[in-house]
Homo-oligomer: 428 residues x 2
Amino acid sequence: MAELEDLSTPDLRKFHEQCASNFEAFRERAITIDMTRGKPSTAQLDQSNALLRLPENLDYHLADGSDARNYGGSVQGLPEARKLFTGLLGAPADQIIVANNSSLAVMHDCIAYALLKGVPGGNAPWRGSNKAAFLCPVPGYDRHFAICEEYGIDMIPVEMTGSGPDMDEVERLVASREVKGMWCVPKYSNPSGDTYDDETVRRLGAMKAGAPDFRLFWDNAYALHKLSDKRADILNILEVCEQAGTSDRAFVFGSTSKITFGGGGLGLFSSSKANVSWLTAAMKKRSIGPDKLNQLRHVRYLKDAAGLDRLMEGHREIIAPKFRAVDAVFNAHLEGTGTASWNRPEGGYFISVNVKDGCAKRVVALANQAGVSLVPAGATFPYGVDPRDRNLRVAPTCPELAELAPASEGIALSILLAVTEKLLSERN
Amino acid sequence: MAELEDLSTPDLRKFHEQCASNFEAFRERAITIDMTRGKPSTAQLDQSNALLRLPENLDYHLADGSDARNYGGSVQGLPEARKLFTGLLGAPADQIIVANNSSLAVMHDCIAYALLKGVPGGNAPWRGSNKAAFLCPVPGYDRHFAICEEYGIDMIPVEMTGSGPDMDEVERLVASREVKGMWCVPKYSNPSGDTYDDETVRRLGAMKAGAPDFRLFWDNAYALHKLSDKRADILNILEVCEQAGTSDRAFVFGSTSKITFGGGGLGLFSSSKANVSWLTAAMKKRSIGPDKLNQLRHVRYLKDAAGLDRLMEGHREIIAPKFRAVDAVFNAHLEGTGTASWNRPEGGYFISVNVKDGCAKRVVALANQAGVSLVPAGATFPYGVDPRDRNLRVAPTCPELAELAPASEGIALSILLAVTEKLLSERN
């Protein structure tokens, strides 16, 4: 099919009428499918049901003999839990913190402590006389941006290139003393699917930051979440920074929320010794320690890196067909129309769709009318504003496989209808 | 026996030599007992072992049909968990937040959010141009004081009277605009055992605060933790404030760490609707939600207020004899000597001992030498400094009953030795 922009106005009008009719027919099917958030599906959760029975046989003792049911031990988390995640986090166990169920909470707290107290290498709390700003690769994760917005941290968007953020732009912007941090989802990025290539990671480690206390917020949320046979490798940011003489630059975050249970996983952190000491000291004021029993459950269930890999292979088998199903429907309806482009991610939880500029909000509204819930357009940008109003984040993991063809069709029909409306309005 | 101060110097010297000899004999027994922290004992933890098997039979669904293993639901916590704790917290379920395993963390976060953003009724973040200060009844809980110290909040000590803090002093001090908060452990206070009487609670609710955004940090950590047959009743601070026209004044905290598991309990919060909305909004930026599975475990195990009461009765049967054992030994060694006074608490986790001024540090050092670990002297005061160096916090719950007679003897002998040393040095 020709690109719609190339159609004559009568042909375009005819096509638009067909789109409207298809959309109406779809709407009459009255389906209801939620594609808003990157949630694991029931089948994925079922894989970790063994966790619900652990610890078994009243064996609640840690390796050091202490009782996981009681207070005590380090706020850094169970030594055996820290050991379990050394591979995922790329750091030795003494440079790892295993926290409660939310890695977002650890990110939040790093920012809150930085604002209130400052970080190693800084000479004042971030919340001093000057403005603080974060670089925000876009599209990105709405909950990252919401933390910055909450605390009045300016957000400066940087475009993604397909292999990470535009590094020329990042290097230019980071020279400002006001830029204190940068959000990075380095692998299977949310939602663009970008995996940072080696040059990008090296430049992030080596670039000259204007603020002596600049931090990369390295949210490796999808470290193990491949969709193809091969897992992408990214350079170890802690090693890269160490070699570049910026050893305190990276705060690394991880999570088991999309490995075991979204409703009861573990938040993970690794960094330089100085940063780990800093965060541990701050955490000690906040709490006597994390939920040790849930850490013990994870240790007993996952056992080691091989156990993690086996589990993630099971996830892949469940969700990779879902991503293929969405792609096939988009292909059938949208390929060659020039209405939208989308990624075929090698990992992660999202498909990122760029529709014609100025159409994303309308697509979301139409899809909602058609029973397919999408996250509000703009959510993947700072302040919820997509300057080109074009990006959609599609989350295929949670619905059943059989739901994804109709859900994707609903999205595709909404895209076609919104874009043809827009094209026609532009010709008036 | 006569009070030691009344002895002639030769008699005192003789008594001191006897104390030194008794202390040496005790030290040679080479016992090791930890009396530092208020930890539940193994027998107490065993009472809640059913939690380790929950949820059973893969029944991980909440009352609303949703899957506790997955993301979703309110950051406020499970509706059924909030319902469970209405009695403990003295508020309806919609004015309750059930959080992760640490109530201290909720207190910390209230202060962090207040510093960064301000609280309802305030016109600026606490961390503005002025100093912020907290009233701190003493002796009090070291971890409360540590949060204030961490963030540079001035701490103003107020003496406890036996039925709560000295309210004349509180009313005088709270008139200052800089006083933003006050720590209160209103029932079986840590460590003095004070339970706030009705007049105290009413005056706290009604007093005129200089700061419009003043808050009572009402840490009702021992709400259900009676040691005698009868549970002390305190007035419901939320109702008292409501009636006094200060409905947003109290942040109420609770915890199951000393009900179920110190290493895997639940932190609790209740307050006015405005405060709950404020905290919920802040928590939403930090995390998608709490560990739902642990909340579900608690709901299934504790069931209702009667279930909580039954469990607490079991705790009482285990720990009340321990408090009596300590008291009996102190009585035998110290009664009538004028060296120390201590409380016989009706609830809570501590015995508070006041020794002769200037002797507490020495007692702790001697007790440590004798194999009985006590929390550092001064820990129960702001900045770790007891101006009279007299208060000791004794935690009898964790050691086995049979250990408490020797442990208490070690403490008593340390007190006698330290005080006689001091008395003799004063006569030189």
